[in-house]
Amino acid sequence: MSAPLIWIVIPGLVSIILYFLVKWQRLVTWLGVVVGLGLSLAAWKLPINEQLTIGPWSFKVIDTLMVFGRRFILTNQDRPILVIIYILVVFWWLGSLSAKPGRLFTPLGLGIVSLMVASLAVEPVLFAALFIEVAILLCIPIICPPGKKPGRGILRFLTYQTIGVPFILFAGWGLSILEQNPNSVLLPGQVMILLAIGFCFLLAVFPFHTWIPMLAEEAHPYAVGFIYFIIPGIVSLFGLSLINKNVWLRNSEVVFGILRSTGILMVIIGGVWVIFQSHLGRIMGYAVIIDLGLSILSVGVSQEIYLSNPTSTPYLDIFFDLLISRGIILSTWALALSIIYTKKNSLDFREIHGIIKQLPVTSVCLFLAQFALAGYPLLAGFSARMKLWTQIAQTISSYSFLAILGCVGLLLSGLRMLFVLVSDDELKTWRIEENNTALTFLIISILLLFVLGLFLKL
């Protein structure tokens, strides 16, 4: 048995089986949850390339799977990432029981996750782009379920992500040439440009970010939230693995300089534009742009920290903190939006005046999620942002003000949203209109936001 078989092939096969069971939506979701939990538990407990003995049986999980001469490799070093990915996805699927983003959410979601894990495991690296593209194609039925007319955001998402793939493929070719000829002077620059353009498309970097807020207006908020989390999250992990595997990229000041500038640009753009948004989904979209910017910035500053003191801070720990907190916060945010969307069939400010009196727990959840992503103290996103701001201040102090600016924009937008949620012209009476399932998930989510905020180490 091999590790890629367990964490890529099995979820892929299960997703196909679940697709044929979509008529029984709750069963499919619970099966997805069980499989996801099993896979994350296996990633946590099952060592790779070590002999295991259970009773009279002895077996070994090897790290490589060969397919048509290409290798899929998952080692012990990848196990924490697998645990994070699968446990966060389980969290999303549990929330879908209340959010109801559509029948295809769990089966296609599992397929997307298995393809994205394949993109992290495959060698040579150029094949990753092809797996990412297939995963993106699978996203379309989730965000545009049967019966719905595709909007501009969906088409733009498909366009930008598809155009990004050829750049990564060409960069992969350039990287393989560079391995054979490391002294080439011209090629590193070309590869860097190709990678930069490819990742700009895939990670929704300015000016290719427009699909993010547009998508939020057109599709179910929970499905959109999932796409916001899974695609940029795993593409950024793929980007990190590229940097780690290629010494010249890891040691290049230009690469990290570009990452820092890109990250800060996304934070500023997201932070300024989020203030002027009057659609709850678009606010979530711009918040995601800010968070992605912070993630890219965290990678950008990691080189400075690493070079100044390689033994002190764990390399890239902030990036993973941001990834985990984004997964939890976004699912909470998307769940709250889904409940409002189901109730009002709109997320526009004009339609949700005074909704706190009808959906009080949802409103609190929404407010807390936005503040958590802005880095408000005691909430889930705080510790990662605090660490990042501190490290930016210590290394590139000129960026620290700008990095905080984006989060301030998100806080201001949150206050504006709060005003809309509580302002009520009709003097309605207070009542809790959320159903029991929604209430359960919302309360668990709120508790998680606080628990993560209180117990994640500073």
Partner: protein, 202 residues
Amino acid sequence: MDFHLFTLPALIIIIFSTVLILISRIWRWVLIGLAIQYIGVFILTALDWSIEMATGKLVAGWIACTVLGIAMVEALSSSTDSWKEAEHFSPSGSIFRLLTAILVGLVVFSLAPKIVSWIPGISMAQVLGGFILIGMGVIHLGFTIQPLRVVCGLLSVLSGFEILYAAIESSILVAGLLAAITLGLALVGAYLVVSPTMEGPN
């Protein structure tokens, strides 16, 4: 078989088909243009790939056209006329598109000699064909919000890229995966075309 003799006809086919896709207001002509385009792509990829692999590209492209065509027929038979609504552009619009296509052609012809020196082993015809497809595909994507046309634009961009990529990578697995992406894109396009007429989740 030596395909070098057919590079000029292939280029002419590509230019003709991309212009047809860009300026045509009738969906059937768009798909016919796309199908013709794959003949040019086949010839230019066959310069570096074996004829079997290049044929795979041609077949995948034609299947993609068929899938999109079936989806269009299905969508139009289900009483929706969203296609016509979205694609109302005047004859002057066609002239504007034609002028844009000429502009793209000029840019490609002026840049091609430099790009030939960047990519080892690539011929001028491949660079011209590849970049004309990419340029026209991108222009097409900028002009439309209709799912069928968006997918045609993306398929053009991918085809252009595949011509360039064929010169540097001849792996069967890559060719297979790229063909799978072509088919996947066509399926997604077909889904997006038919989606409004499908039965809702409830």
